[in-house]
């Protein structure tokens, strides 16, 4: 039935669709914009960071509803309408960003899945937000093929200080709600990349997205897919709004793993193929290549069309820019490739100085009962830095607030001193078994050139039998801590300013302070895990013991013991007759073999013969005894 309908519809609509194309193109220019950007930054230690950013911006207002989209995926527009979402961040990441050697990433992400969203609408209550939050996560679990449907109230919190809205509302401001959750166990693979690419206007058909091939994305050291949506409304006019969708893919390649002798690399080497063009829907399509710092040692072929020097907070970065639309303008355009040629010979590579602030996290203590979560934040800057730390401890780990300590040490010392730092901000929401996670936020000033160690003691819970996952011995995760700070300098700082939406908006975007967020490592704890095969073993063992005990006891308890005279009837026919006759005549029971033996002795035969006979007799007796026993056993 469907097929017939499809056919009919196809027949009816195909000419119409052709007619509409031109009008659409006109609309793109006025209403919706799409930009694609790629940033390539060589990092220290033969690593290359490639960052893709696809931005769809829809300036709407006349539309009564958000269902008529052109470049923006409809599903994104729909969730804004249905779930009162104003801002949404989703990250799917594999690997760990190494701050100390790689600097700061353009977009922050934690391992596994992370999402947070802002809701705002009149008539929203905490409960309705909880409900909408779960349904929102469910929607994205379908869209991105991730297990985001595991997000519920038992692993979500409402951060108080660390996340601030990045959206704009018009006129009367209604109450704003935020929800945050992480799923550190989540694996990121092609099945996430495929639907992520399908959200793009050109899909994976053309443009920079063609470079994202699964085989070359997943052999990286770090890969992170991101989706960020926010709405920006004119504060005076509620009918003048922008929906901004930013899709990011942040990859770090290890050149050593690309199996080549030198440090040369190219787009083709990194992504498996050159660029075949730009997305026809895109307003701009650009590649930025960092030329200074680690990028200084490379020569570029072809050379960039222009170079841009960006000064941010007293720190300058030089970018080479390739405009792909210009590149493919003329006739005879073919595959476009950029090659980075490293210096010949083993040149000394300059080491990167660590960024102003970085953090690590680990578990202290031993055993499966108690432990301590330790987070170490280091400030290498010459001024004190304000730090806010957020911990989300799942319900199966019980944290004790009174054990919270912030000890500090100067950077050059190895051991922490006993003096404690005072916190100026504390928000603590205790967890509840199986219901709520523990939520902790602390803010303090971190002195110049020093480290702070934040520790909190925890108990590990013994779960119920069915609460253990199928691979219980893998361990349970505690999501990463989020640390935010404000940097006075722009060294290693690459994030986009919030007012902008393109990578080029970060050029020369000097501010008085730079908002920084970091993610630490996620932790894995081995909760007390029972031996799941134990019941089976117990059953087997118990059954064996019972069976072994039961047999003899049963036989002892039920068998009737009858004493029967031993027969000494000889086998020999002649002897049998003699035997019978003797028994008949004597009329007394033939007693035992001993009698016969005595008889034999009396007969006075040779001693050897005697012995042989003796043996034979014994054997005979034994066999007969056995038969007798058997009879008894069958009774």
């Amino acid at each position: 039935m469907l097929a017939e309908l499809t056919l009919t519809l196809l027949l009816l609509l195909s000419p119409l669709a052709l007619g509409q194309t031109q009008i659409h193109q006109f609309q793109y220019q006025t209403d919706e914009q799409f930009h694609e950007e790629l940033v390539v930054r060589p990092l220290a230690g033969d690593h290359v960071n490639t960052y893709f950013q696809f931005t769809t911006r829809w300036h709407y207002g006349v539309h009564k509803n958000l269902y008529h989209t052109q470049l923006t995926p409809r599903v994104i527009a729909e969730i804004l309408q249905t779930y009162d979402v104003r801002e949404l961040h989703i990250g799917l990441t594999q690997g760990l960003w190494r701050y100390e050697t790689w600097g700061y990433p353009i977009v922050e992400a934690t391992g596994g899945a992370e999402l947070w969203a802002w809701f705002s609408s009149p008539n929203l209550t905490d409960d309705s937000v909880n409900n909408q939050w779960m349904r929102l996560a469910n929607v994205f679990s379908g869209i991105l093929c991730a297990s985001l449907n595991f997000v519920d109230n038992t692993n979500s919190i409402a951060p108080k200080h660390i996340f601030r809205p990045q959206f704009m509302e018009s006129g009367h401001r209604s109450q704003q709600f935020v929800r945050y959750a992480t799923l550190p166990r989540e694996i990121v693979c092609t099945e996430n990349l495929t639907p992520w690419k399908k959200l793009l206007p050109c899909g994976s058909a053309s443009g920079l997205a063609t470079l994202l091939n699964s085989g070359y994305v997943h052999n990286t050291k770090y890969h992170s897919l991101g989706v960020k949506v926010r709405t920006l409304c004119d504060s005076d006019d509620p009918n003048n709004c922008i929906v901004e969708l930013t899709q990011t893919a942040n990859l770090v390649y290890d050149l050593k793993l690309l199996e080549q002798s030198n440090t040369d690399f190219s787009l083709r080497r990194l992504f498996g193929m050159g660029l075949n063009g730009y997305c026809e829907m895109a307003n701009s399509s650009k590649i930025y290549v960092q030329r200074n710092e680690q990028g200084e040692r490379f020569q570029l072929t072809p050379p960039p069309q222009e170079e841009v020097l960006s000064k941010v907070g007293g720190h300058s970065v030089l970018f080479g820019v390739y405009d792909i639309q210009q590149q493919f303008e003329g006739p005879g355009a073919r595959l476009f490739n950029i090659a980075w040629l490293g210096p010949k010979g083993n040149s000394k590579r300059e080491h990167m100085s660590p960024p102003p602030l970085y953090a690590h996290r680990y578990l202290l203590g031993n055993g499966q009962k108690h432990g301590r979560i330790a987070t170490e934040v280091t400030n290498t800057h010459y001024e004190p830095l304000p730090v806010v730390l957020m911990e989300l401890v799942p319900w199966y780990v019980h944290a004790y607030l009174h054990t919270l300590r912030i000890s500090s040490k100067p950077q050059h010392l190895y051991e922490y001193t006993t003096n404690e730092l005072k916190y100026s901000l504390l928000h603590y929401a205790p967890g509840k078994q199986r219901v709520l996670p523990t939520h902790l936020e602390i803010g303090f000033m971190l002195p110049a050139r020093s480290s702070a160690l934040i520790t909190i003691e925890v108990d590990y819970l013994l779960l119920k039998w069915l609460e253990y996952p199928p691979d219980a011995n893998h361990g349970h995760y505690i999501g990463s801590a989020v640390i935010s700070s404000q940097l006075p300098i722009g060294r290693n700082y690459t994030a986009l300013p919030l007012e902008g939406y393109l990578f080029q908006d970060s050029f020369n975007a000097s501010r008085t302070a730079y908002m920084l967020t970091l993610r630490t490592e996620a932790l894995i704890v081995s909760l007390p895990t029972p031996d799941f095969s134990m019941p089976y073993n117990v059953i087997c063992l118990a059954c064996t013991v019972v069976a072994l005990a039961f047999g003899p006891i049963h036989s002892v308890a039920t068998k009737l013991i009858i004493v029967e005279r031993q027969t000494t009837i000889p086998r020999n026919l002649l002897r049998k007759i003699v035997h019978k006759l003797t028994t008949r005549f004597s009329r007394r029971p033939a007693n035992s073999a001993v009698n016969e033996q005595q008889n034999d002795e009396q007969n006075g035969k040779g001693k050897e013969k005697e012995k042989k006979k003796e043996q034979e007799k014994k054997q005979l007796d034994q066999t007969e005894n056995k038969k007798f026993c058997d009879k008894q056993a069958h009774m």
């Binding site: 056919l7 196809l10 304000p386 691979d471 007012e499 908002m515």
Partner: protein, 349 residues
């Protein structure tokens, strides 16, 4: 059937109403439409085992996924359940790739794959909920089996099984009775037209023994009391690549093209005992058609005959205002974007 015929007639009338000489539908199309008993295709493909050493089960399920996708069932109508990640597993030396063969003939994972249920989501509860359409409130659309009375449904299961059960993730089981009840409920709720049940596991035939629902054709890789065996090991990854039955099934399906004349009957014979070692079990008593006359595309594909018209057809749209000319759309007023401070100032004291 009646409704379908009516629609067909409507379609013909609608098209012949235009002043066209090409308005008559092609003969082959009417033929195909009349012969088929179904209107849409769905596939539920389940790998029930976790852990790296069960690589072969993931390769199994991806082989069938690859085939049904290649033959035209869209991702929105394939429910793929994979209990563990093999492609991006740290033990996989070829990230993002799963092969059916040590010589890396076919990357069954491919570059375009959508897994609907994965990891811990693959549970007996979710599987039964999926079949019977009783998914929890708020479940994403791609995680639902939205089939109807005109759907041909392919169910493929693989994992570790025994007499009368199939293990899920090494921690729970689905019994043959639960499966039969689930399928009976599907029938009662008119969730399928015909159902092809395929299972590759040890003692697989025990899983379809309890079926009582009509229009079900079932095939199992081994009879009760038999083990299903794996095909070969890849020394570079250290585990078995794929199971025998599915290996030969994929070999057969790779040769099938859309509009192919191959039948389900031929497919039932893909793995004779000499190559499979186990005996392939088939249950036909619930199925009313002759499998030798049923095209394999009825279950493994969803290609419908379509014809492209190049002529112009004038139609009136229901919502004309949606397609009004855009001349009056003026560029919006630009406004300054001011975002509130992102860091709380309290600490700076």
């Amino acid at each position: 059937m009646l409704f379908k015929a009516l629609l067909l007639v409507l379609a013909i009338i609608q098209i012949s109403a235009e002043e066209y000489d090409t308005a008559i539908l092609p003969e082959a199309y009417i033929d195909a439409a009349e012969r088929s008993t179904h209107t849409n295709n769905w596939a539920v493909l389940v790998d029930a085992s976790r852990f790296w050493f069960n690589y072969r089960h993931v390769a199994n399920v991806l082989s069938i996924y690859r085939s049904v996708k290649r033959l035209g069932i869209p991702d929105s109508q394939i429910i793929l359940m994979i209990a563990d990640d093999m492609a991006c597993n740290a033990r996989n030396p070829r990230p993002g790739q799963v092969y059916n063969n040590a010589n890396q003939h076919i990357n069954v994972y491919g570059d375009d794959v959508e897994v609907d249920y994965r990891g811990y989501e693959v549970t007996v509860e979710n599987f039964v909920r999926l079949l019977t359409g009783r998914t929890q409130n708020g479940t994403a659309r791609s995680k639902k089996l939205l089939s109807d009375a005109g759907s041909n449904v392919l169910i493929y299961l693989t994992g570790h099984g025994g007499d009368g059960f199939l293990k899920f993730q090494d921690s729970e089981e689905i019994t043959s009775q639960e499966l039969a009840d689930g399928i009976q409920q599907m029938w009662e709720k008119k969730r399928y037209n015909e159902l092809f049940f395929m299972v590759d596991t040890c003692q697989a035939a025990s899983l379809y023994e309890k079926f009582i629902s009509p229009n079900v054709l079932a095939v199992a890789s081994s009879l009760v009391g038999e083990d299903s065996l794996s095909h070969h090991v890849d020394p570079s990854i250290g585990v078995y690549m794929i199971d025998r039955y599915t290996y030969y099934a994929l070999e057969f399906l790779e040769k099938v093209q859309p509009f192919s004349k191959r039948t389900i009957g031929e497919f039932l014979q893909v793995c004779p005992k000499r190559v499979c070692i186990s005996t392939v079990g088939v249950r036909k008593d619930l199925y009313r058609r002759d499998p030798m006359k049923v095209p394999i595309i009825d279950f493994f594909g969803a290609i419908r005959p379509t014809r492209v018209s190049t002529g112009r057809i004038n139609v009136t749209l229901a919502n004309e205002e949606d397609f009004t000319d855009v001349a009056h759309i003026q560029p919006k007023k630009q406004f300054k974007i001011v975002v509130q401070p992102q860091f709380i100032a309290k600490i700076n004291k």
